[in-house]
C-alpha cells in the first residue's frame, strides 16, 4: 500500500516534471522561425559546406562535424585510449601517451587551432592541447589521425594553449596553475615566494608540421588563462589573459576575485625569438617527451628531451608587458584587422577593447604605471580603444564575422551578443540554451572569416533533448548570422564537452583526404607485403605472427605450437588498396583491445594466452559478404609441450623446415 502510494506520487511528480519541461522547451522553440529546417538541411548524398572540429574536453578527443547539418563525421582519438580502433593499445601507438610521468592515457582536450598561412586557414593540420598533463597534439587533416604529441615541461594545467601565429610559426601556451619551477617540495603557503608561471613557444616546421619546444618565458606566478596572437599589423605579438593576480592558493573562487583588475600579458614574440637565437636564454635541465608517428611504418617513436631554454623578462627588456584588464578575464580575442584586442572580464559588467596602435604608442612613450617583477605595466586608459558598456553577464569568448561585427558569449545571462567592434555598439542579442562557453564562426579568428554560421557550445543542456538520466550530452546551437539579426536554426548534441571549435570550408580539406596507405610505401618491420610473406616466427617465448588480411580471409588462419608463457604479437597487414575497407582483428581474451587496420597499414596486437585451448580470432569490421567467414584459430598448448610450430591457410600448412625448403 505504502509502496503504491509512493509510486503514485512519483508518477505524478514525473508527469509534472514533463509538463514543466514541455513548457520550457516550447518557449525555447518559439525562438525558431521560418525556414530554419531548410537552412540546416543537407540532403542525403550531399555534402556539408564546412567541417567543424570540436574539442572533447573530458573525453580527451576531437569530433568532426559537418555544418550546417550538425552531422557527426568522425571522432578522432587524441589524448585518450580508444579501444574501438586500438589507438593507444596497438604496439605502434602505445608510445603516443609517453610523458615524463610515464604513460598517461587520458587528458582533457580544450582548444582547437587549425594551421594558418598568412592569417587564413590552410587545411593542413589541427592542433589541440591536453590540459591536465600538459601536452599539445597535432592531427594530420589528410588522414584525420593524431600523428604527434609533445609534452610541455614544468607547467601545470596547460589551459592557455595552443594558440597559433598567422603563418603557423609558433603555438603559444601558458600555465594555468602556477607551480614551483622547477618542481620542489615546498609549503603551499610559500606561493608568492616559490611559484611561477611560464609562457611557452612551440615551433612548427613549415613543411612537415613537426613541433619542437623553442623557448619558455618565465613569468610571475599568476594563472595564465587564454591567448591569441596578433595578425596583420599586430603579427609578432601575443596577448594572454591572466586571472589570480592576487596569487591566491586556496578558495580561489573568492580569493582570486579580490582585485578590480587582473592583467593582460603582451608578448613581443619576435623580440623573444631574437633573444633566443642570440643565445640570451638560459638552458635548464628538465624532462619532457616528444612522440611522433612515422607515416610509412605507422610506428610512434618516443624521445625524452632533457633541456629547455628559459627567457627571463627581468634580464631581457622589451619582450613582455602587462596592461590591466577588468576582473578575472577569460577569453582574449583579436579582430580580423589585428587592431582590436578584446579582453572578456568574466566578473566585470563591461568589456575592455584595446587598440594595438595605442598599446604600441604607450610602449613607445613608456606610459607605464610601475612594473611587476621587472615587467612594465601599461597605463590602462592609454591602451584602451573603448569599453562596451553592460553587454551582458559573464562574457567569455568572442569571434568575428569579417564585416566589422564581433560575437561574444555570455555564460551567466545565456546569450550571444553581436556588437560593432569599431563603434562599440550592441547590434543584436539572442538567447542560447543554456550558458554558452565558447562559440565558433568558420574562420572566425582569422584575417578572413567566412561568416555565415555561428555555433554556440553550451555548458548546460537540461531540457533540450529526450532525457538520458543524470548525464546529458552537451548541446551545440547553430545560428545563421548572414543577416542583421542572428537566427537560431539547429540544435545538436555533442560528445564530451567541447570547449572550443574551429570550422573551415570543406574545400580546404576534402580534396586532400587520403583514401588508403600505398602498400608499396609500408616500411613496418613486421609487415607482410603479400600473402606469400605471411608466417610465424618464434624466438624463445616471443612469437611474431606476420598476418595478412584481404576480403575475406586472414593468412595464416590456423596457428599451432604456441605454448603457455609465450608472448604473441599479431602483426596484421591490410593488403587492400581500396577506400573504406579497413579490416579488424580481435582475439578472445585479449586483455587490451582490438585493432582496426586501414588499407596498406600494419598494426600489432600483443596477446598473452591465459589458458591452453583453441581460441578464435576474427575480423571485426564488416568488410564483405563473406566477412563472417573471415576468422581463424590459434592453438595454445601447456608450457613445455612439443607441439610443432605450424601455420597455414586452406590446409597448406607450413612449418619452419618447410619454409626453409621453400626459400631455397
Amino acid at each position: 500500500m505504502k509502496n503504491s502510494l509512493f509510486t503514485s506520487s512519483l508518477v505524478l511528480l514525473f508527469v509534472m516534471a514533463i509538463l514543466l519541461a514541455g513548457c520550457t522547451q516550447q518557449n525555447a522553440a518559439t525562438v525558431v522561425e521560418g525556414n530554419a529546417a531548410e537552412q540546416a538541411y543537407v540532403a542525403p548524398g550531399e555534402y556539408d559546406e564546412f567541417y567543424a572540429f570540436m574539442s572533447g574536453g573530458f573525453s580527451g578527443q576531437i569530433t568532426a562535424y559537418g555544418l550546417p547539418s550538425g552531422r557527426l563525421l568522425k571522432e578522432i582519438p587524441v589524448f585518450s585510449l580508444c579501444p574501438e580502433n586500438g589507438y593507444g593499445f596497438s604496439e605502434e601507438s602505445k608510445p603516443m601517451f609517453n610523458t615524463s610521468y610515464g604513460s598517461v592515457p587520458w587528458d582533457d582536450s580544450h582548444h582547437i587551432e587549425l594551421s594558418q598561412t598568412d592569417g587564413e586557414f590552410d587545411g593542413r593540420w589541427l592542433f589541440v592541447n591536453g590540459n591536465n598533463t600538459p601536452r599539445i597534439a597535432r592531427i594530420d587533416l589528410t588522414t584525420f589521425e593524431t600523428v604527434e604529441i609533445i609534452e610541455i615541461p614544468d607547467v601545470a594545467g596547460l589551459h592557455c594553449a595552443p594558440f597559433i601565429t598567422e603563418n603557423s610559426e609558433y603555438l603559444v601556451s601558458g600555465t594555468r596553475f602556477s607551480v614551483p619551477i622547477p618542481q620542489a617540495d615546498v609549503p603551499i603557503a610559500s606561493f608568492k615566494e616559490n611559484f611561477k608561471g611560464l609562457i611557452n613557444y612551440v615551433a612548427v616546421a613549415p613543411e612537415t608540421g613537426e613541433m619542437s619546444l623553442a623557448f619558455q618565458i618565465e613569468m610571475p606566478g599568476f594563472n595564465y588563462d587564454l591567448a591569441r596572437n596578433g595578425k596583420g599589423k599586430s603579427h609578432g605579438w601575443s596577448f594572454l589573459t591572466t586571472y589570480n593576480s592576487e596569487q591566491a592558493y586556496t578558495l580561489l573562487e573568492v580569493n582570486a576575485s579580490q582585485k578590480d583588475k587582473d592583467l593582460l600579458a603582451i608578448v613581443n614574440w619576435k623580440k623573444a625569438e631574437e633573444y633566443y637565437k642570440a643565445g640570451r636564454g638560459k638552458q635548464r635541465a628538465t624532462s619532457y617527451y616528444h612522440n611522433l608517428i612515422d607515416e610509412n611504418s605507422g610506428i610512434a617513436a618516443s624521445t625524452e628531451m632533457k633541456t629547455t631554454t628559459i627567457l627571463n623578462p627581468m634580464e631581457l627588456p622589451g619582450m613582455v608587458y602587462f596592461i590591466p584588464v577588468p576582473k578575472s578575464p577569460h577569453g582574449c580575442d583579436v579582430d580580423p584587422t589585428g587592431e582590436y584586442i578584446v579582453g572578456n572580464g568574466k566578473l566585470s559588467a563591461d568589456m575592455s577593447i584595446y587598440s594595438f596602435d595605442k598599446l604600441m604608442a604607450a610602449i613607445e612613450a613608456k606610459n607605464f604605471d610601475g612594473d611587476i617583477k621587472g615587467i612594465p605595466v601599461l597605463n590602462y586608459e592609454a591602451g584602451l580603444h573603448g569599453i562596451l558598456k553592460k553587454p551582458g553577464l559573464g562574457p567569455l569568448h568572442t569571434e568575428f564575422d569579417g564585416k566589422g561585427s564581433a560575437y561574444t558569449t555570455f555564460f551567466i545571462s545565456s546569450e550571444v551578443v553581436k556588437w560593432d567592434v569599431e563603434k562599440l555598439e550592441i547590434l543584436d542579442r539572442q538567447s542560447t540554451f543554456y550558458s554558452p562557453g565558447h562559440l565558433v564562426i568558420p574562420g572566425g579568428e582569422t584575417k578572413k572569416p567566412f561568416g555565415k554560421y555561428l555555433v554556440a557550445m553550451n555548458k548546460i543542456t537540461k531540457d533540450r533533448y529526450l532525457p538520458t538520466g543524470p548525464e546529458l550530452a552537451h548541446s551545440a546551437q547553430l545560428f545563421d548570422i548572414s543577416g542583421d539579426k542572428m537566427k537560431l536554426i539547429l540544435d545538436f548534441p555533442t560528445k564530451g564537452e567541447p570547449h572550443y571549435a574551429q570550422a573551415l570550408p570543406a574545400s580546404l580539406v576534402q580534396p586532400n583526404t587520403k583514401k588508403f596507405y600505398p602498400i608499396e610505401n609500408n616500411t613496418h618491420p613486421y609487415a607482410a607485403l603479400g600473402e606469400g610473406q605471411a608466417k610465424v616466427v618464434k624466438t624463445g617465448n616471443e612469437v611474431h605472427v606476420y598476418m595478412t588480411a584481404i576480403r575475406s580471409h586472414l593468412a595464416p588462419d590456423n596457428i599451432e605450437g604456441i605454448n603457455m608463457g609465450d608472448v604473441v604479437y599479431f602483426h596484421l597487414t591490410n593488403l587492400e588498396q581500396d577506400w573504406d575497407v579497413p579490416h579488424g582483428f580481435a582475439i578472445q581474451g585479449a586483455n587490451n583491445a582490438e585493432l582496426l587496420v586501414m588499407p596498406g597499414q600494419t598494426k600489432t596486437l600483443k596477446w598473452e594466452p591465459v589458458r591452453p585451448g583453441v581460441f578464435a580470432f576474427y575480423c571485426t569490421d564488416f568488410c564483405s559478404a563473406l566477412h563472417q567467414e573471415m576468422s581463424g584459430y590459434v592453438r595454445v598448448s601447456p608450457k613445455g609441450s612439443d607441439v610443432k610450430l605450424m601455420w597455414g591457410l586452406n590446409n597448406e600448412n607450413k612449418d619452419e623446415e618447410t619454409l626453409r625448403e621453400m626459400i631455397k
Binding site: 603479400g530 584481404i550 559478404a625 563472417q628
Partner: protein, 167 residues
C-alpha cells in the same frame, strides 16, 4: 538448427546488402548503368572489356624486366586471392588466363575493376560465381602490363600455351 537457419538467412541478407552497396557505392560507371533507359538494348560486349586499355601489342620472347616486376606485384597485391594454378580460392586461378581473355580485357579488369564488375558481362558472371568483389588494388596501367607478361609466362609453365584468346 533454428540458429543455423537464422545465420544462413543473415548471410544471404548481408550478401544482398553488400552487393547492393557494391553497385551503388563504386566510383563512376554505376550511375551510367542506372540512368540508362531500361528499354534500350545493351550493345554487344567487347572482348576487350571496358577501360583505358584499347590495344596491347604482345611481343616474344617475354620481356625479363616486366616478368620481375610483374611477379613482385602479384606477390604483394594479387596472391591473396589468385593461385597460379587453376584452383579457385577467392578469385579464379590464373592458369590459362591469357588463353581465355584478351590482354586488353585482363588489363582493364585489373585497372578499372569497379566499372568492369558493374558493366562487363563476363566480369559480372565471374562475380556471381565468386561472390566477392575483386578489390581495386591501385595497379597502374604500366604495372598491369607487367602483370600480363607474368601471366603469359605462368600460362606457358602451367598449361604449355599462351595468348590463345588473341588468335
Amino acid at each position: 538448427m533454428r540458429i543455423h537457419f537464422f545465420l544462413r538467412a543473415l548471410t544471404v541478407l548481408s550478401l544482398t546488402c553488400w552487393l547492393a552497396v557494391g553497385c551503388t557505392g563504386s566510383e563512376g560507371g554505376s550511375s551510367q548503368t542506372s540512368s540508362a533507359p531500361a528499354a534500350a538494348p545493351s550493345p554487344p560486349a567487347s572482348p576487350k572489356g571496358i577501360g583505358e586499355v584499347k590495344n596491347v601489342t604482345l611481343t616474344d620472347p617475354l620481356e625479363e624486366s616486366m616478368l620481375v616486376s610483374g611477379k613482385a606485384i602479384y606477390d604483394m597485391k594479387c596472391s591473396g586471392c589468385h593461385k597460379l594454378t587453376d584452383q579457385r580460392v577467392v578469385g579464379p586461378g590464373w592458369a590459362g588466363v591469357t588463353n581465355r581473355r584478351r590482354p586488353e580485357w585482363v588489363m582493364n579488369m585489373v585497372t578499372n575493376v569497379d566499372v568492369m564488375l558493374d558493366e562487363d558481362p563476363v566480369a559480372q558472371k565471374m562475380l556471381e560465381e565468386c561472390l566477392t568483389r575483386m578489390p581495386n588494388q591501385r595497379v597502374s596501367i604500366g604495372d598491369a602490363r607487367a602483370l600480363l607478361e607474368f601471366m603469359r609466362k605462368n600460362d606457358m609453365e602451367q598449361v604449355g600455351s599462351k595468348d590463345e584468346a588473341t588468335k
